[in-house]
């Protein structure tokens, strides 16, 4: 199977699963109480009770077969989509003349930043106006749109034949990072920041219980770090080059920790929004450092 076909099949497959998610979300009471779904629900409840004790969890909320169905379908959906990710990234250099590749990669990352602002925001409005299913359908429609757009495109085949797969080639990426200590340090910092940023997974809880906003308020919170990162990247592009990258990196990571802590303590929507925005600014600064390092 060639790259284009692989991208189309995985996108199309995951889009079909998204359609199923839309159906389950629209008529959750129709999902049959199969044993496997009840067993999965029990497992979810056990995981949710870890560390908090069973009393702190609304056990009744886990007695829905539709909940297990949504979890299983989401797992399937993302697994299928991820199988096509390497092909989706590696086809880019094959689409353009060599001298345009660097610009195309920049366009790709700008586009990604744009979508991480637009996607959650659109989702918030769709949930508020039409319900969960509309968002799953949006995912399916946009995936099918990409399948259609890729139909009929041509690209050159890579000049180098890939090396036969061995354990050594599988580990090549890891050993490259290990040898380049700057990249190792930067990736390590990234991992650390992502670990701290995991708090963002709890955003629905913050939005509902602490800040008392609905899906639209939640969607702006979710988009805030990306907005910050984009504005920071734009500002850095037009400002003087950084003189002490090491110090800047530490300040960015430290600043990230401070604003996320304030976010955790805040009970005021706009303060929380501002802190997430600033956390994005710090990440934008880190991202810029990586870009400079990569160019050296």
């Amino acid at each position: 199977m060639n790259r284009r076909r692989l991208i189309q099949v995985t996108l199309g497959g995951s889009a079909l699963v998204s359609v199923l998610l839309a159906v389950v979300s629209a008529w959750p009471e129709r999902v049959p109480a199969w044993a496997v779904l009840r067993w999965f629900d029990a497992g979810l409840l056990r995981v949710a009770s870890l560390g908090t004790g069973a009393g702190a969890v609304n056990a009744a909320g886990f007695e829905r077969p539709a909940l297990a169905a949504v979890f299983i379908l989401l797992l399937l959906d993302q697994t299928i989509r991820t199988l096509g990710t390497p092909a989706r990234a590696s086809i880019v250099p094959l689409l353009l003349p060599r001298e345009r590749i660097a610009d195309a990669i920049t366009w790709n990352s700008s586009s990604f930043e744009l979508t991480s602002m637009l996607g959650p925001t659109i989702a918030g409005f769709l949930i508020a106006w039409l319900g969960f299913s509309a968002v799953y359908l949006l995912d399916a429609v946009t995936a099918f749109a990409m399948v259609g757009l890729l139909q009929g495109i041509t690209y050159r085949e890579p000049e180098q034949k890939p090396e036969p797969r061995t354990w050594r080639t599988l580990g090549a990426g890891a050993s490259f990072i290990w040898r380049n200590k700057e990249i190792l340090a930067a990736s390590g910092l990234d991992l650390f920041a992502v670990l701290l940023g995991g708090a963002v997974a709890l955003l629905p809880v913050y939005a509902d219980r602490i800040l008392h906003v609905g899906p639209i308020g939640l969607s702006w919170l979710r988009a805030a770090p990306s907005i910050g990162a984009v504005l920071m990247a734009m500002w850095l592009t037009h400002s003087r080059p950084m003189r002490r990258p090491g110090a800047t990196m530490l300040w960015a990571v430290g600043g990230f920790g401070v604003v996320i802590t304030i976010f955790g303590l805040s009970h005021w929507y706009w303060l929380s929004f501002a802190m997430l925005f600033l956390s994005g600014c710090q990440l934008g600064r880190l991202g810029r450092l990586h870009e400079l390092k990569a160019r050296e």
């Binding site: 829905r64 989401l74 989706r88 003349p97 969960f132 399948v147």
Partner: protein, 62 residues
């Protein structure tokens, strides 16, 4: 692509990549698909939160 001169003498034009039809189609498709995926990321967490904090029988679909 209508580039007649070599890359070295052509002025640097970041928009040139967008004039390659195959890449343009890819970029538009990729942007759309990523909007959908980012939207899905939000709905998944919100829906699961809403369902698990409420009593069964009270179905929320939005």
């Amino acid at each position: 692509m209508s580039d007649s001169h070599s890359a070295a003498e052509a002025p640097r034009d970041p928009y040139a990549a967008l004039r390659v039809p195959a890449y343009r189609r890819y970029l538009i498709g990729n942007t759309l698909a990523n909007i959908g995926r980012q939207a899905l990321g939000l709905v998944a967490t919100w829906q699961i939160y809403r369902w698990t904090e409420s009593a069964p029988g009270t179905w929320r679909t939005g």
